[in-house]
């Protein structure tokens, strides 16, 4: 089965090709091509996964891709526990989201293009997961970046969408560039970018003293530096602080996109990469690279959670929570919680996708993203409410939902290896419960505050009007909220079940010798060698975190549900702090000034420089000479400026100095000749 793994990315790719070239012809049948492709690759993926579960050997396939001198750079794919379980998750979630999208995108004139891009995305994602080397990983990595770019801007007529897509691509590109440099560094040290070769080399290298690089005052071990550079990629892709700014804006894309790309899979790619390249981080002196990872994750988790509290846009709240959860995962990986981090990745994929889809269903019904304009939705749309609730509990980490298990794993690891991290993460967990409860309270309870007749968006394009749609908030004419069609709700239900049940693989005793199955299945070989024991599940800790979560919910309920304390009072009381959080801590603003404005200014400056200095040096010379005035007069049809002025003007000037000698009078000429002769003789005698 593993030998067929190359098929997994291939099906979506094929569907992409088909849809791009024949999409318009297929019309309404287009989605089913994509779904079919996904189904097939899901089949293979699960086949591979099951095979691995049943204990098949991991499998690697390589082929030469490029050469340099004697060296060969290969591409290929790796099938092992990690990649297998991840592709399984991706194909599953992806497939469900595809189905959901059929309903969500229904009637959109660009549906074929939408599914084409989604398919391409899946192809890229799966490639990235299965890749055997940093090179192929990078390729998939960039392709999914591209797709995210294209899909965020799917409503390409909307300026805000355009801005968002550009922001997303560029911000991640910054991280990618760092990673690229990291990869260069790898090639430099090991002459290859193949995972196994690199990791073995790193492991070997860990025994000798690491080479150090001077960076100003500090001496950084080369391997650490490399690892951190590589980590730049994940920071960008997984929206870690300080490159998290793009993710909230990415919500401009259609909701299924947000669900698949910006919640379940792509953003998780960063985490996956850290997991995949774990040896690189682990084998740095004192695991220092991992410490950095841990703290980046922790900080991200906290800040994002804080910002989430002050948002009103339902998708933005979820986006920030995604960031925060990704922070959790990173932190988990960072505190030697290899399994914990990756496990959270999987569960999060389920419940976050669920939350987004449910949110989409809500938006679909009420034509607005603003939770303040919703309310009381539990009655008109029970399924959505139920599923959303499941997602909410999972995310908040309430026993026995999947989120509880995975988050708890992380906290457990943190508690053992990095107590400080543990404290911060606990706070983050509290906030998570808080803002999610706030969201639920606003959206599903209380009276319905929705607008009677939603305004069509100003960007409304003519052909959308022709289709009689106001996407993305599919407007069906009726102002009353109502449940979504089954094609959308069925995936919700499935995901809800997963969100509920996926955690049980972490229940102690599911695995051999009392450990959990997931620990058995996803473990990092390096730990035993280093004698690091994964801590075992402990109830007191679990209860403590559960308590924190409930506390958060309670607070939220007091304020937003029962409204004993009115939220605007809280706001007034919080004052500047609230504004600070609501405005995303002004980080975006800062970047806007420094990078965007600054960059453009620099560009304009250099352009001026190019025209006036580099090119015009000559003219400058020209201007400073007295000649110029005369030159301008005498510039005839032959004159061109720029460099030619160098030749033209300077020489022309000299010529002009000589021309007066050409009086047309013979005796003047003869005088010149005689004088010249005299000079000639004198000079030559001089040399004698």
């Amino acid at each position: 089965m593993a030998r067929l793994a190359w098929l997994i990315p291939l099906f979506p790719l094929a569907s992409y090709a088909v849809l791009i070239f024949r999409g318009r012809a297929l019309g309404d049948r287009a989605p089913f091509v994509a779904i079919g492709a996904m189904a097939l690759s899901a089949l293979v993926a699960w086949g591979v996964f099951v095979e691995q579960v049943l204990g098949a050997e991991s499998f690697v396939w390589r082929a030469a891709w490029a050469v340099g001198g004697q060296r060969v750079i290969t591409v290929g794919y790796t099938v092992d526990h990690l990649s297998a379980i991840t592709v399984a998750m991706i194909t599953l979630v992806g497939g469900l989201i595809f189905v959901y999208s059929v309903g969500y995108m229904g009637g959109d004139p660009y549906t074929p293009r939408f599914f084409a891009f989604l398919s391409l995305f899946c192809a890229g994602m799966l490639t990235m997961v299965l890749a055997n080397s940093f090179l192929l990983m990078l390729i998939g990595w960039e392709v999914i970046g591209l797709c995210s770019y294209l899909l965020i801007g799917f409503y390409f007529r909307r300026r805000s969408a355009n801005m968002a897509q550009m922001k997303a691509f560029l911000t991640t590109r910054v991280g990618d560039t760092l990673m690229l440099i990291g990869i260069m560094a790898l090639f430099w040290q090991f002459g290859t970018v193949d995972y196994h070769a690199v990791f073995e080399a790193v492991q070997r290298g860990a025994k000798e003293a690491a080479a150090v690089v001077r960076l100003g005052p500090w001496e950084v071990p080369l391997v650490t530096l490399t690892a951190l550079l590589v980590f730049g990629g994940p920071i960008g892709k997984s929206g870690q602080f300080p490159l998290h700014v793009w993710l909230p804006d990415a919500m401009e894309g259609p909701t299924p996109v947000s669900a698949l790309i910006h919640a379940a899979t792509m953003v998780a790619a960063g985490v996956y990469l850290v997991g995949r390249a774990y040896p690189l981080f682990f084998y740095t002196p004192h695991h220092e690279a991992l410490t950095v990872v841990a703290w980046v994750g922790t900080v991200t988790a906290l800040l994002a959670a804080l910002m989430a509290v002050a948002q009103d846009d339902i998708k933005r709240i979820l986006a920030y929570s995604t960031i925060s959860q990704l922070g959790f995962m990173m932190a988990g990986l960072g505190v030697l919680g290899y399994t914990a981090g990756l496990f959270h990745l999987l569960t999060h994929a389920f419940f976050k996708a669920l939350l987004f889809l449910a949110a989409g269903s809500v938006i679909h019904a009420v034509h607005t993203n603003n939770i303040k304009e919703m309310g009381g939705l539990w009655r008109p749309m029970p399924v959505t409410f139920g599923t959303f609730l499941a997602g909410f509990l999972a995310l908040a980490g309430v026993f026995p939902f999947s989120g509880f298990w995975s988050k708890d794993e992380i906290l457990l690891e943190a508690y053992h290896h990095e107590p400080a991290v543990y404290t911060v993460l606990t706070a983050a967990a509290f906030l998570t419960a808080l803002y999610m409860s706030r969201l639920v309270a606003y959206a599903f309870f209380g009276p319905y505050r929705g607008p009677a007749h939603p305004e069509p968006d100003p960007w409304l394009p003519e052909d959308y009007a022709r289709a009689g749609l106001y996407r993305p908030h599919g407007y069906h004419g009726s102002a009353e909220p109502h449940e979504s069609p089954p094609v959308m709700t069925v995936p919700l239900v499935v995901l809800a079940l997963l969100a509920f049940g996926a955690g049980f693989v972490a229940v102690p005793g599911t695995g051999p010798e009392g450990g959990s199955w997931i620990h058995h299945f996803l473990k990092f070989k390096g730990f035993e060698a280093a004698g690091i024991q994964a801590p075992s599940f402990s109830w007191p800790l679990a209860l403590r975190s559960l308590g924190v979560v409930l506390a958060g919910m309670a607070v939220a309920w007091v304020v937003y549900g029962l409204e004993w304390v009115r939220s605007d009072q809280v706001r007034a009381w919080a004052g500047p702090a609230y504004g600070f959080l609501r405005n995303r801590m002004y980080i975006d603003t800062l970047y806007g000034w420094v990078f965007v404005r600054g960059g453009l200014a620099l560009a304009a400056g250099l352009w001026w420089f190019d025209r006036h200095v580099v090119d015009g040096l000559v003219n400058l010379v020209g201007w400073t000479t007295v000649l110029t005035s005369r030159l301008h007069r005498l510039v005839d049809t032959y004159v061109v400026d720029g460099l030619v002025n160098l030749v033209g003007w300077a020489t022309r000037g000299l010529g002009l100095l000589l021309q007066p000698l050409q009086t047309g009078r013979a005796y003047n000429y003869i005088l010149v000749a005689a004088a010249g002769l005299a000079v000639l003789v004198v000079v030559s005698l001089w040399r004698l």
């Binding site: 049809t637 020489t651 050409q662 013979a666 000429y669 003869i670 010149v672 002769l677 003789v681």
Partner: protein
Amino acid sequence: MNWQDLRWLVPELVLTGAAVALLLADLMTAPDRRRQLGWFAVAAAVPAAAACGQLLAELQALRSGGVRIFADTYTVDPFALYVKLVALGAVALVALVSLDYFPGRTPHVGEAFALLLFAGVGLLLMASASDLILLLLSIEFVSLSSYLLAGFLKRDPKSNEAGVKYFLYGAATTGVMAYGFSLLYGLAGSTSLYDVATRLGRAGGAAYLAVGMALAGFGFKVSMVPFHQWTPDVYEGAPTPITAFLSVGPKAAGFAALVRTLSVGIPLEQVQWPLLLAGLSALTMTVGNLLALLQRNLKRMLAYSSIAHAGYVLMALAAWKSAWALPGLLYYLLAYLFMNLGAFFVALVASEATGSDEIPDHAGLSQRAPWVAAAMVVFMLSLTGIPPTAGFFGKFYLFAAAVDAGLLWLAALAVANSVVSLYYYVGVLRALYLMPPPERTPLSVSPALRVGLGVALVGTVAVGLYPQPVVGFVELARRLLGG
């Protein structure tokens, strides 16, 4: 003296005979049929050239580097013969294009061609003269005929002025040169260059003075700075075919005479003339280019460019110690013959068409006479030194000589000058191609002129594309007797 020696003079004799015969024929020809006389002139050059070839063959047969006749006053060697061929080429081509020029402009067609032939004789003599007296004489012979030709269009004030100026300037420089020669004579006690070479001992500064004064004469002929100023005025004023002739014939012969005088007569340990000429070369090419840059009149521009080219050729003398110098010089003379004559022929066509020599007036000629314009492209590129033209290989040769002789600075200067020159040469093409024509009526080019252009074009391209034969020839011709 033995009459056998006369056979070395066959080319000169042929041409002289033709000239005299022409004069007589002119008397007996009805004015309206005098055009035929031109053909006679053209024809005369052919046997003369053939004779040169024959003599060359004889020298080869004798395995001799050349012969000195009339008590060393006259030397016939491959070098001389090569230059004579170039000169004859100039005479023939110019005569050809003059066929339709002089008739209608002057009644004295016969005399015109006769003078052209006389000038030709003078050139042949210059190429071989190895005695100060003969040199003076032959140079003056060429000059006198040229004065007359330059001023030949009596009704054209420009032509008159050109004649007078040319004469005054020429006569003055002749005076200086004569004085210089007298000094050389005094210092060496002989007028034969071969003796001068051996006896120029104990001259010291006087030698420099003498050479300097002599250079005034040669400089005038090859329009070397500072003896160049007559060039633009005369070139502009003289009848265009004559201008063409002046730009190649006397120049080639002048260089030949200069080379022979210096290399044979002036030993390097007496006078560091290569150094002297390096300076003059630099000066000449630069001045020529800078002034050419300002010209709007095609003939005048070509005049200055011919000064510049004199500068390039002088590089060869500056780089004398390189084995490439003399071949380069000789090759360049031939290349220059073709490309410059060609350029002037086009100028002739253009001025016939537009009645003006101003470059902007030739706008859009490519639309009216595509082939002529195309030819002009070749000539201009060749003059700039863009491959694959004769001009390029010539420059390549000369640059090589300079580099070989370690005169990198001079080569670099020449490079800079070539770039400058591109500027005004392309200026012409710009007018011909990039500018819209005022009218689209196709031009009619007289058959004779067509042939002339054709020869120049083919010459420029062929010699540039496959220089091997010429290179072989110049490699042979660089063995000049006593040099």
